[in-house]
Symmetry: C2
Subunit: 341 residues, 2 copies
DNA sequence: CTGTTAGCGCCTTCAC
DNA sequence: GTGAAGGCGCTAACAG
């Protein structure tokens, strides 16, 4: 493979095929008005020369690229990953391509800047519309369609699809309370994430509603990773009065927690019940099946794509804010508390 | 936020600032020949109007975008994820931006086509160069720099950085053999991946070298996930004569294997030794620390970026093929076999 | 059916 | 120091 700095242009193809550039353009864009033989000849030359039209030039002229952009902070969280998965699947159906920009989990404060910068850089130029996942910036300057997934503010001034984190947490807690648990530990996630905050609120609200006093010792804040889940659980287990159940703000933490519980010789669910949040793939087989709250993350990606494409095609949006419902998935990590307790 | 279809152009800025487009262009590109006051005025107008220059138009004119592309099949494998991480970190140092294209783990055969398509689409048009991770296609038609990470063929006709999978597997096996193990199970990965094949070869070669007959029952093929690691281990454990050690072709599989081992009441490393491959983050704390082979995946990303940027800047490449060394990381999942065995 | 023409938004000479 | 003009590769009229 040579890296000759001599890109083949539509002009080269035209000359080689003995036609005009517009004819080549027509072939490229599958226009009908081309003689079959001409079409084939041009096609052959394109093949031979290994020509590909320049996205840059094309988009500049036609103001339409059929490419949608995805801007996300971090590819390492399962949340983002699952959104990408959903977006990808949805994109494949439609006739669009996907370009992802990610800042590479650099947790610096300047992310909001780069986020905005990327939106302006791509949108309307190389991209017909953009999906921003858990945006940090509160506003974007783009004249082109933009949809956010799980933004920090509900009052965001752009269309968004959000997870019903609070409702989901309530459902999990309700279940645990229904099983008779009163002393329930909580393993939280990064406080800078909307989802983490909301789940914690759900935890607290349902306790309050059940007239159970909040015990700050029962709340351990991690960062949504398995490792901190493990460490937070250790702290919970070291408490003078151990919780009978643990609600982890995501599945990864829950898995870490189960690890910690198992390690000290206790069993899930016999000794301690555990509920997670997310319903990631692993959840289905960890410890015989983790009871968790499904928030249909990849569906959020799909919905975002649908909204965006509607916007791109100038179709009306039925809802500027789509709330993705959550669903409690009961598996094998919870157990009713014995009456003696 | 409004999506008015009226992108602000350099012309709008020029008019608003009462200067010509070329002056604005000069300001944009930090040219020296601009009066300080003019500079500031233009800058202010740009700010006010929220103007961002079009990547498309810019790249078309100047044939240089300072954007590099990353094409990868699948974002869900830890290998790819770690490469992305390394690339991201390296990119941040240099003055480049990164655009990722991923096919969204669709394992269909048409990936090679889309891969090539994307390379042509982006390269030289929107991208100054491209890194392809574990390419499926054997050749790419681009006149611009391209570097592959872990390609299938050694004989690839593009610069590449490859993992020394075979050497790494030998090291792991040597270690296990040195501990006295003779009956060693192997959990493989997807056979369509070069890395999986090489690690299996390493397993077989070292056995052969130690004059230990190959037992096909000891080789279970998974797909690099924790789940299949778990299932493969179950099969290994169900064997009439159980292996005393298991070499898993990646850490995820190893973790699944440990799960299976623990589940039937056996202990790692007391009853069975386990070695992984990759040294992913989790490896440091699973089961008190997983002994594994570090292949410095994110460094591979960094090296790829360095090679690519050299290529872009027309600097000579010292090596067209960079072999990333591997290193055995001894932790707590292996144990010397008692002499009685 | 096909060629000619006119820009898309920007950068780069070249004048002034 | 600044403006005017040309052209990057392409598509979309409009002619023929």
């Amino acid at each position: 493979m040579k890296f000759a700095k001599s890109p083949i242009t539509i002009q080269d193809v035209a000359t080689a095929a003995g036609v005009s550039v517009s004819t080549v353009s027509r072939v490229l864009n599958d226009k009908v008005d081309v003689a079959p033989e001409t079409f084939e000849k041009v096609q052959r030359v394109i093949e031979e020369l290994g020509y590909t039209s320049s996205l840059a030039a094309k988009s500049m002229r036609s103001r339409k690229t059929n490419v949608i952009g995805l801007v996300l902070h971090d590819l390492e969280q399962s949340f983002c990953l699952n959104v990408v998965r959903g977006v990808n699947r949805a994109i494949e159906q439609m006739d669009y391509d996907l370009l992802v920009y990610t800042g590479g989990n650099s947790r610096d404060r300047s992310w909001a800047v780069r986020e905005r910068q990327y939106v302006s850089l791509l949108n309307g130029s190389i991209t017909d519309g953009i999906i921003v996942v858990t945006p940090t910036a509160e506003t974007f300057s783009t004249h082109y369609p933009l949809v956010a997934v799980d933004p920090h503010l509900d009052s965001a001034d752009f269309p968004a699809v959000i997870a019903t984190n609070h409702v989901g947490a309530l459902a999990a807690m309700e279940y645990l309370l229904g099983l008779g648990h009163r002393r329930i530990g909580f393993i939280g996630g990064r406080p800078d994430l909307q989802s983490a905050v909301r789940r914690l609120q759900g935890y607290q609200d349902s306790l309050r509603q059940a007239n159970i006093p909040l015990d700050p010792d029962l709340i351990q804040i991690g960062d949504f990773t398995q490792e901190t889940g493990y460490r937070c659980a250790q702290k919970l287990l070291a408490l003078p009065v151990r919780p009978t159940a643990i609600f982890a703000a995501n599945d990864k933490s829950a898995i870490g927690a189960i690890e910690a519980i198992t390690e000290i010789g206790l069993k899930v669910p016999e000794d301690i019940s555990v509920v997670g949040f997310d319903n990631i793939e692993e959840a289905s087989f960890v410890n015989g099946g983790l009871t968790t709250v499904d928030q249909f993350i990849s569906d959020m990606g799909r919905v975002a794509v649908e909204m965006l494409i509607n916007l791109i095609q100038n179709q009306p949006l039925e809802n500027r804010l789509f709330r993705m419902p959550t669903k409690l998935i009961v598996r094998n990590t919870c157990r009713a508390l014995e009456p003696e307790n």
